[in-house]
Subunit: 492 residues, 2 copies
């Protein structure tokens, strides 16, 4: 029997790391800060991708692909963007290696130096707007609604699997519009798509909001965000959508001939979610026994484990198990019949619990006689004996219930962890004892925001759009007047 | 009206480049040798990916993801591999940029130099086998059947859209096995998957074969290939599958405890196809009017173009067109109703011809009265008036016919361009006048192979598996004895 996971209550961070590795989601590679996404983890990511891609296409977007490497000079074109992104980046300076003088190793060939260094994309606004200049001449060419699935790189010093890695996978939408209003509408549409995806597929409640100027994307005029709450009381920014104004159009000289015959700069948005969502998924639902996966994203929704001792028992159980497998598959359920005899049933029970398979069906000789199976739920760890007759319909409904219950449980937890604070003492106390989101007044200045962060490590996650927080009050620290509460939390 | 494409007969290369750009498949970016894959081109690639991915999963493979950057020292571990891949590669040497002294630009920060340079993967055997060492301990862990969809980079000096670009997209399968036989079986299974995909989806006939030692993948013991013939008589290597022996297991020390309790090195394969297939697709079917796409890969299988003058006509035509759109969509046909009134029907006809949409339905006021439409085939450029009644079934069957006919046409061309040569004069003559594949005797030495390449630019594409070429003969150049003919061609 494999050793148990660390408990969440004892070391949440250690629990997370061990779980991610042992459940087969990801692991560190031999390259600093870069992870290997393992097959089981990648299968969950593929399910996420498939659904997001559908939602992007339903909202009129098409996929395309832009270069991995961006000339260094492109970053210098948008003043704020360069501050935010060009600094901690992987830089390609040479294009050849050569054998060392002793003939035993290889080394960078100093004669093969690039005239201009190339940066591995940390995000693609610059290379894409350099391309859009060629695509857009007239209002007839607008809107451009393009998305890219890609790898990106940011040279992070402290990395954690899925949450913060030097290389990660993501999608980045980049759209171009005739008017300011249309671009804002697009940015809002996409943050809504993300919120719906989090709710309906990840069973993860999120709060939609806008970022303060300090927390905005480098080069954006407005950044929309969805913020989720993890089980340890810390917030996790799970997706962002940016209204970029005309900043990139001006930096890359992208103009269009308007319906009125005038030459105008194009309006832009960009929006993205990444493999960080995998971390959010793990930390929203899982428990001390392992992963808990929402059925809609689970690579295996139901596993069937046969139990037998003799050869005769094995044959009878096997026949029945295959029948059930077919029954479930015909209902469109992702089912795995695990008849691998290298492992014992007890080992398999633990393994699928660790991997978060929503439902487990165990079937033994007595079940075959009685026309029953044992059905176990991963989320509640409850078990019951049920008849084989009608099992497919039962499983289908149960999977829907689990999806619903997981969301409700996460939402109850989240709602119980949104607390109002009216003084700075109270604010600190909540952060240190209870954790979670804190709704408090803020005077609207970057100075106060920075001071609060310095004193408490909490940041303004967003000015919420999903709750009415408008009311008169006074900033916790400065006592200056404030017209609405904003949402604070410590965050990943 | 846009200007016509160059004719294939006049300048095949120019025709190809202009077609790829103007049909919306891809274009050069601002970064040397790197392309932008445009939405229409990417949609075809997505259709290819979806089908290949299904075929990989049906043969038991799972997807995963490995790091983009590989430490330079990894390449030095496999002696042949380093020769083949570590040389012309993009090398990351620094991890930070800084503002220049004048405050106006940015530059590489010399203090942020990596201890060991990192290479952007040209292929992932090294990083993956470094990972497999952690995954594989016992025969219980085998086989490992993993595929990765990724971008890779090879610093090519002369690039062409899709055919040869510094960055390209591909999939790379990497499998690990207990025995030599099992690995060979896997390598052969995957070249068969590629051949089936080419035939059934791309409507592209290919010849399966094995490469000569000179043309093998760097680090392989056997390389299987599929070779296709382009319309200009040049061959295009379209996919390869490699039996890697124990070379990478030895280089990265990957051993497993066998069923007999012995510690053994693992056996390996790798296999891949890339966005190069897009170039193959274009050059197999297209004509002087533009793209010709096989229906199974076409993003739009049928386009409906309305024709009208008055408002009343427009309403009547629009109603009928929408009805037909629904009819076709319900049959699972990818249909586009183009009612954009910014463009005239004539413009649209040209545009969809250029983009290779297999079927075009035009509908005007008289068609509405008569209950007919005009149906035009892209491949034959033929048109006919057909009744709306039964149109969905007709379109469905016609799409199947087109898929079949495209394959047959390409196969007829290919078969007519496999020529036997028995003397070197004859060989040169065929290459220079007729082109295509030439079956000729070869003495089996690398020296002769190199001389033939030097004299004619033709290479041995493969020792074919799909045709019986065993017969006694003599090498064209050296006159030495040969037991079988091999397949030569000039190639992309």
């Amino acid at each position: 029997m494999a050793k148990k996971l660390p408990k969440r209550s004892e070391d949440y961070s250690k629990w997370y790391n061990e779980l991610v590795v042992r459940a087969g989601l990801a692991e560190n590679s031999g390259v600093r800060g870069m992870m290997v996404i393992k097959p089981y983890g990648y299968a969950i990511w593929e399910n996420m991708q498939a659904q997001l891609d559908r939602m992007f296409k339903e909202t009129g977007h098409q996929n395309a692909y832009f270069p991995l490497l961006i000339p260094q000079s492109y970053f210098a074109k948008e003043a704020k963007h360069v501050e935010g992104f060009a600094k901690e980046a992987a830089v390609v300076t040479h294009y050849r290696l050569r054998t060392t003088a002793d003939g035993k190793g290889i080394e960078v060939d100093p004669t093969a130096k690039l005239e201009e260094p190339l940066v591995i994309r940390p995000t693609s606004e610059t290379i894409i707007w350099d391309t859009y200049r060629r695509w857009i001449q007239s209002y007839r060419d607008l809107p451009v609604l393009v998305n890219q699935w890609a790898n990106v790189m940011r040279w992070e010093m402290r990395t954690r699997l899925f949450l913060r890695t030097a290389e990660f996978l993501w999608q980045e939408g980049h759209t171009a519009h005739e008017t300011r209003e249309e671009a804002i509408e697009e940015a809002e549409r996409m943050i809504d798509v993300y919120a719906r995806f989090a709710r309906d597929w990840m069973a993860m409640p999120v709060i939609r909001g806008v970022k303060t100027p300090t927390e905005r994307f480098a080069g954006a005029e407005e950044t929309y965000t969805i913020e989720a709450l993890m089980q340890d009381g810390k917030a996790l920014q799970s997706g962002t959508s940016h209204f970029l104004g005309q900043n990139f159009a001006k930096a890359f000289d992208v103009k269009y001939l308007s319906r009125e015959g005038k030459l105008e700069y194009v309006w832009a948005t960009s929006w993205g979610v990444s493999t960080r969502l995998m971390g959010a998924l793990v930390m929203t639902h899982s428990d001390d026994n392992g992963l808990v996966l929402p059925p809609r994203l689970a690579p295996i929704q139901t596993v069937i484990v046969p139990i037998y001792k003799t050869v005769e028992q094995r044959q009878a159980v096997d026949a029945k198990a295959r029948e059930i497998e077919t029954l479930l598959r015909n209902r469109g359920i992702r089912v795995k019949y695990d008849n691998d005899d290298k492992y014992k049933p007890g080992w398999k029970f633990n393994e699928y619990e660790l991997r978060g398979v929503p439902l487990r069906i165990a079937i033994g000789p007595r079940d075959v006689e009685n026309g029953t199976v044992e059905l176990a739920r991963r989320d509640t760890l409850s078990k019951e004996i049920v008849p084989v007759s009608g099992l497919d319909e039962r499983v289908e409904k149960l999977l829907e219930s689990i999806q619903h219950d997981l969301f409700q449980r996460a939402k109850d937890y989240r709602d119980a962890h949104i607390t109002r604070a009216d003084s700075f003492d109270e604010f600190q106390d909540i952060l240190e004892t209870k954790g979670g989101f804190v709704l408090a007044h803020w005077d609207g200045t970057a100075e106060t925001e920075a001071r609060i962060k310095e004193l408490t490590k909490a940041t303004i996650r967003c000015i919420p759009l999903d709750m009415d927080t408008c009311e008169e009050g006074r900033d916790m620290l400065t006592g200056k007047a404030s017209g609405r509460r904003v949402l604070f939390a410590k965050a990943y």
